[in-house]
């Protein structure tokens, strides 16, 4: 074939989809049940600290974790970054900050979005609180995001 030397590259859009529904088990399912009901749950560990969001097993000791306890709906930012343009699949409509947030009563931080006007409004150690989505189904995005505590 002589025309293999053609420099024009063929291109076609390709979408790979995994339209999965995952079973949760009792611990993840318990946490998501809490979100649907408007509360945040963590798992109590043998040393009394609380892992939030909860896992079935303690990542440090591998003990099974079976006691879910309610934690606060406000907490402290332990680190953050600014997400200028929401990326295509993110469940956020406007620019936002990613943050690791340790909720009151929990001892480990969770990842979520914080709604502020810009990066200048973010700082490590700032207080934020949950903003719930009106329609909830038992999903991590039942938390629409977090907002600075004073504006909650």
């Amino acid at each position: 074939m002589s025309d293999t030397a053609n420099d024009d590259v063929l291109r076609a859009p390709l979408r790979l989809e995994y339209p999965f529904i995952r079973t949760t088990g009792a611990v993840v399912g318990g946490f998501l049940t809490g979100l649907r009901e408007g509360v945040v749950l963590g798992a109590k560990r043998a040393d009394g600290t609380v892992l939030c969001p909860p896992l079935e097993y303690d990542p440090i000791t591998s003990d099974p974790l079976t006691e879910l306890v309610e934690v606060g709906q406000a907490g402290t930012v332990t680190t953050w970054t600014w997400n200028g343009e929401p990326r295509p699949q993110q469940p956020f409509a406007q620019p936002f900050a990613w943050a690791m947030i340790t909720l009151d009563g929990a001892d480990t931080p969770m990842l979520h979005g914080v709604f502020v006007d810009g990066p200048d409004a973010m700082s490590t150690g700032m207080r934020v609180s949950v903003q719930w989505r009106d329609e909830r189904e038992g999903h991590i995005a039942d938390i629409a995001g977090f907002v600075p505590e004073e504006s909650a």
Binding site: L16, T24, Q89, P91, W98
Partner: protein, 350 residues
Amino acid sequence: MRDVAVVASMQRQEPSIDNESEVEYMVPLMHGVKESIGITQADVGFTCSGSSDFIAGQAFSFVMTVDGTNPVPPISESHVEMDGAWALYEAWVKMQMGEIDIALVYGYSKSSGGSLRDVLATQMDPYYVAPLWPDAFAIEALAARQLIESGRVSLEQLAEIASRSRDHAASNPHAIRTAQKSVADIMAEAPIMDPLRPSDIPASADGGCVLILAAGDRAKDLCDRPAWIRGIDHRTDAHTLGVRDLTRSMSAKIAGQKAGVGNDKVDFAELYAPFTTSEFLLTDALGLGEDTVINPSGGTLGAHTMMASGLIRIAEAAQRITNGDGDRAVATAGSGPNLQQNLVCVLEGE
């Protein structure tokens, strides 16, 4: 431990390889590396590769590339959904069992067809994190801020890492980010994902690497100065970001101890450090000092071919030993968010 060495390698990295499929561009590397030491697939006792379906956009994508290994008659072969460095580890273990003397290892990806930083969100916890689609830069930026605010590293030190990597990349024909840039100019860059700047993030490339391991006398027959693997270990941290100290790499530290990094001086280190922050964490965890040249190839800041970059670190370190540029080197490979997994390999010349 049976003596096993890297005796040959070949790599290709480009910003994007549009006009060839993975197997089309890997076959010349597979044949080239075998021809360079005068062997054929019949001499190879085990073939192992690393690649990712999520990057290729195709299920079981690695089977397409297997055709290039000459699997007629059938060959002993395996694949890992990890960087090719883990394929090398599997081959090394098989060689320790004494079953085979020569192994062919490769890793590759053509990530330019998708948005790699977003594709990598699919490796996060599927219940709590992945549905929010944090991209790879955001996940690293969260760790970077903690590291900087801990006072252990400054933005200026990170800029020095970026500037030095560019200097080194300038003399590496496989690097793609080769424009030199001063620390002051990097300090002036606007953040791409605060606090990370464009020079702090990996230079994403398409490509791959093929490498040959040989044991004992076969290695000496095939290479004038084989790069002997004197220690190799890999460890993983917990997956949940909230339970990790993101300002330290425990997995790299333990893997480094097990591999014997600190047993002698290290002339140079090729570190799988996609971000400047990762390089700081790794040099800290491995206890590398001023007398060790870090990433003489420019590292993953100079060219980062996902699924091959770790294997390329081993290939780069081995090539320098074979060339006589040094006697003892460390190479690392990594995987997962915030370098969850780390593989450390100690290479020596004789």
